[in-house]
Amino acid sequence: MPDDHEINYNSYKELPPSPIATGSSLVFKTGGWRTMRPIIDLEKCKKCGICWKYCPDVSIIIVEDLPKVDLDYCKGCGICANECPFDAIVMVEEESI
């Protein structure tokens, strides 16, 4: 599994011969882009997995058989809330939280 450790090259001598990327994008915490936050109402959740399936940012994770938003990476697009057939997800302004 990739990890989110940063790679720094202090000299050109340390670089690979050409721009060959070996690190993971997990270093980029894209959650900082977010203005709207999805809030999941687990009472309403029927565990259908649709929110997980349609997340373009791989930011709905399944923890103990329930969906959870990974706020480090979720950009707040709102697809999960829009697609949830049970209205179990609402989008809330970050500033109001």
């Binding site: 690190g23 894209t30 697809i79």
Partner: protein, 301 residues
């Protein structure tokens, strides 16, 4: 939880795609289907930026960034080298390009690669314009769409010509497999990607991948809009397997939605007049009938 698509993720979090990006969903699904033994070439397109800057990448597969028009040639070279090294077995070589890199600047190399019969899979994620450079029209842009190079002004309007039908162009190359897929139907997309993986020879997949930024709609509507595109027969889901046509999501006449809902939900079509909308509806209807005729004449027995 009941999952309808594979759990494995080979596209990591932290990528640079815009909110609600259809192109990133398309990649996520494709890699779920193809697995880690996949080698990929990506030309200039949104996906040249989405994985992230050096030395990072969101894709857990070997990947080469290639010149805009070179995807077909790059995958040909990869496949030939893997064969020469005795390492081709079990490895899927994929070209992954946007619509401009496929239907415009990359069409020659693509045509050459599939004609030569390399065992390669070419996947186009279609967001219907040059989105990475800032929404310029490509030949995959539909008629009626606003882009920054088909602006709506006093004397000149939206794009005046129809979208190039690349799937039929690919099918006409007599390749083993050509198909469409949509991010709204990941199960269908994954099934087709797995089918491509199992076929030895060149295959083509064209994925409908909406772009909230370029199409001017709210990012949460990506899936809804994709579904609407298929339900109104603007983007039918079908496949051509060894010349045999099959519609994967049949739309009954009574269920077929008018395209007006689709058009009205996107800013890029905002200024269309009634007459143009009627002509676009006729074009969609004609193409749908044409496709059904092909299934009738050249369908699977």
């Amino acid at each position: 939880m009941k999952l309808t698509i594979p759990e494995q993720e080979l596209m990591e979090k932290g990528h640079m795609a815009c909110l609600g990006c259809g192109g990133s969903l398309a990649m996520r699904y494709l890699l779920k289907a193809l697995g880690k033994d996949t080698m990929m070439a990506i030309p200039a397109c949104c996906w040249a930026v989405i994985p992230g800057v050096f030395p990072y990448s969101c894709l857990e597969i070997p990947l080469q960034y290639v010149a805009f028009e070179a995807t077909g040639a790059a995958i040909s070279g990869m496949e030939a080298a893997l064969k020469a090294k005795g390492k081709k077995d079990g490895v899927t070589v994929v070209g992954w390009a946007g619509d401009g890199g496929t239907v415009d600047i990359g069409i020659q190399a693509l045509s050459g690669a599939v004609e030569r019969g390399h065992d390669v899979k070419y996947v186009c994620y279609d967001n219907e314009a040059y989105m990475n450079t800032g929404i310029q029209r490509s030949s995959a842009t539909p008629k009626g769409a606003w882009t920054t190079t088909t602006p709506v002004g006093n004397t000149r309007f939206w794009k005046q010509t129809n979208k190039k039908n690349i799937v039929e162009i690919m099918a006409a190359h007599d390749i083993p497999y050509a198909c469409t897929a949509s991010v709204a139907y990941p199960e269908d997309l994954i099934k087709k990607a797995k089918k491509m993986k199992d076929i030895k020879g060149p295959c083509y997949m064209h994925i409908y991948a909406p772009c909230p930024t370029g199409w001017k709609y709210p990012p949460e509507k990506t899936i809804e809009l994709s579904r609407l595109a298929t339900e109104s027969c603007i983007f039918p889901l079908y496949e051509v397997t060894y010349g045999k046509y099959k519609i994967n999501k049949d739309i009954k006449d009574e269920k077929k939605k008018p395209i007006i809902d689709y058009l009205r939900s996107q800013g890029r079509f905002r200024k269309l007049d009634e007459e143009t909308i009627r002509s676009l509806q006729k074009h969609v209807d004609d193409e749908w009938i044409k496709l059904k005729k092909k299934v009738e004449c050249f369908g699977e027995e």
